[in-house]
């Protein structure tokens, strides 16, 4: 690590010391950078490599010392076992459904109200926006228990009467996951910031032409925010796919479990079955990995934004 510090800080400080041979100096610098950089990359990647190898190698290779870095034979039995002992396919679909629904709703409601906060004039606009912003600081743990109460007592849902009594409400239903996160404050904030950068004169023009407010939003402004929508969509999907505690609280029915819940239960119940465990973990990681490799640009933009925000 200490070499890394010295390396990155400056560029050609060899000017005075090694004046006769700056090219050689540069070469050594570059070489050191690649050696350190690649070593760290290997360290970061090793856990992936290790779990992929484990998921494909037979049991007798797994439990051997010293470590066999390259398996002697490949097998798919761990994947077969993971998918047959527990319904990983169903969990995968459940997670996908929840995450995708979350993306669609957040993009729609987030941009709709982000647009209103950024572009439309109405009384209490910025006051309400400030309240939303302040709420971003409320930690999730405070609202966790009362949210369960609220979900249980939603009127006329899940066997409840008009006053929210008698049934389970939205507990143990996908709506209990979808609704509380359907219009995240972050989505509203993120989209508002983006709409603020767009000029308002298009809006004035369209109004003079007699265009309705929703059509101005939907047909003129929303198409301009595609990069922001992509970034927000990816972030929402990742958050939805990876979330664990709240789905575990809301969903009791094993057939409604998400992939994270299924993976946790599997590694808890089959504690020594490391092969299938690694297979399951990789299946849980894969969709986000594919999303990342396909849309890397938007990922990086999103983090840079959350950094600038602070």
């Amino acid at each position: 690590m200490s070499t890394a510090t010295g390396k990155g800080a400056g560029l050609p400080s060899g000017k005075t010391k090694n004046a006769p041979n700056p090219a050689a100096r540069k070469l050594v610098n570059g070489l050191a950078f690649y050696i350190v950089g690649i070593l760290i990359a290997i360290v970061m990647f090793l856990p992936f490599y290790w779990s992929v190898m484990t998921s494909f190698k037979p049991d007798e290779d797994m439990f051997s010392m010293p470590i066999r870095w390259i398996p002697t034979s490949f097998t798919l039995e761990h994947y077969v076992k993971a998918f047959t002992t527990v319904p990983f396919g169903l969990y995968f679909w459940n997670s996908f459904f929840l995450a995708a629904t979350g993306v669609v709703l957040n993009l729609f409601f987030g941009s709709l109200s982000g647009y209103a906060f950024a572009k439309l004039k109405f009384k209490g606009n910025s006051a309400m926006f400030r309240v939303l912003l302040a709420a971003m600081m409320v930690p999730g743990i405070v609202t966790m228990i009362p949210s369960v109460y609220v979900l249980r007592h939603i009127p006329l849902m899940g066997g409840n009467d008009l006053f929210g009594d008698g049934g389970m409400g939205l507990m143990n239903s996908f709506w209990g996951i979808i609704l509380p996160g359907a219009s995240g404050t972050f989505a509203v904030f993120f989209m508002r910031q983006f709409f603020l950068t767009l000029p308002s004169d298009m809006m004035e023009m369209a109004r003079i032409e007699g265009c309705g407010e929703f059509r101005i939003f939907w047909n003129i402004y929303l198409p301009l925010t595609k990069p922001a929508l992509a970034t927000l969509g990816i972030f929402t999907f990742q958050a939805g796919w990876n979330s664990f505690l709240w789905p575990m609280i809301v969903l009791n029915d094993p057939n409604k479990a998400t992939i994270q819940m299924g993976l946790q239960a599997f590694s808890f119940n089959f504690q020594t079955d490391y092969g299938p465990m690694m297979a399951g973990a990789l299946v849980a990681i894969l969709p986000i990995l594919i999303l990342f490799l396909a849309l890397q640009r938007y990922f990086i933009q999103g983090i840079a934004f959350s950094g600038i925000k602070g």
Partner: protein, 306 residues
């Protein structure tokens, strides 16, 4: 903002009819968001405080019991132990997280061939869910056949039984979370580094400053807002630690990795003492608030010294 509203009202040009129509549409556009916000944020926050004064247990009881939950909490040793646990976690994790992310960012803040590929590799672990990462690390840290102890043994070191020893269980969580989080903090630091103007370095170098001087007296102070952001986020994250402790160590051994959120989850959803769990959650929320205020204050005072 109030003045802007008044301005709008008194302006005669646009015509009040159009203005009113625009306002109506504005309210309509934010209606779904505000409705969901009221039901799933405002009501729960108010209820959280109320429930903490009751013995609500989902099934039968929901009586006002005053401060009983809070006085019980003061004597609850396990509750305070969970704070010590995440305190230890934060003391080790937060500085390491800052240091490693910053070093990675400084290393990769250059225009060389292959830098983007390296960034991608450093970023990959952040894509994993805490549950999947913990499952993988459960196997990595296997005392006999795991990769970590396997590598240690090639250096003649006998590695510990990471997740089942009280001394190392929290270290295991820290290692795993570091692996998982330095990548995204590196990106935040990279954005910060790119915001530092070049002339600062150029003039410092003309004055004969060494690379370390540049790092110490230009990079580090210039990155103060970024450092503040990253450290605040990781302290708050530490106080809300759950997934890793739940999957990797199940809070054990002997409650060594039990975290406040873990305890609240058990109290509320396994033992159904939701009133008491609400009191615990409320105190935790206050702690989170206090810590973000302290770190904000510290950062500011340091700024005035420098």
């Amino acid at each position: 903002m109030i003045s802007a509203g008044k301005l709008e009202k008194s302006r005669p040009s646009a015509g009040t009819g159009l203005g009113r129509h625009q306002a109506r549409m504005g309210y309509l556009f934010i209606l779904p968001t505000m409705l969901l916000f009221a039901v799933f944020m405002v009501i729960p926050v108010v209820m959280a405080l109320y429930l903490s004064f009751t013995n609500y247990d989902v099934l039968s009881k929901n009586d006002w019991i005053g401060l009983a939950n809070y006085s019980r909490l003061l004597q609850d040793n396990l509750y305070w132990q969970t704070f010590l646990n995440v305190g230890f976690y934060a003391i080790v994790f937060v500085p390491l997280n800052l240091l490693i992310s910053l070093l990675l960012a400084v290393l990769l803040n250059r225009a060389a061939r292959g830098v983007k590929v390296l960034r991608t590799f450093y970023y990959l672990p952040t894509l994993t869910s805490a549950v999947a990462a913990a499952t993988v690390w459960l196997w990595l840290l296997h005392p006999e056949y795991g990769m970590v102890n396997g590598i240690l043994s090639t250096f003649g070191i006998v590695g510990p039984a990471w997740t089942s020893q009280t001394e190392t269980a929290m270290i295991a969580i820290i290692m795993m979370t570091l692996w998982q989080s330095v990548g995204s903090n590196m990106i935040i630091y990279l954005a910060g580094l790119q915001g530092i103007p070049d002339y600062l370095y150029e003039s410092a170098r003309l004055d004969g400053a060494s690379r370390f001087d540049c790092l110490r007296y230009i990079t580090w102070p210039q990155l103060r807002p970024t450092t503040f952001l990253v450290s605040t986020m990781s302290i708050i994250g530490a106080l809300q630690l759950f997934d890793q402790a739940f999957v990797l160590t199940q809070g054990g051994p002997a409650n060594a990795t039990k975290t406040p959120v873990y305890l609240i989850y058990q109290q509320g959803f396994n033992q159904l003492q939701m009133g008491y769990a609400s009191a615990q959650a409320f105190v935790l929320a206050m702690a989170i608030l206090i810590f973000s205020l302290i770190s904000m204050r510290l950062n500011r005072s340091e700024e005035s010294i420098l």
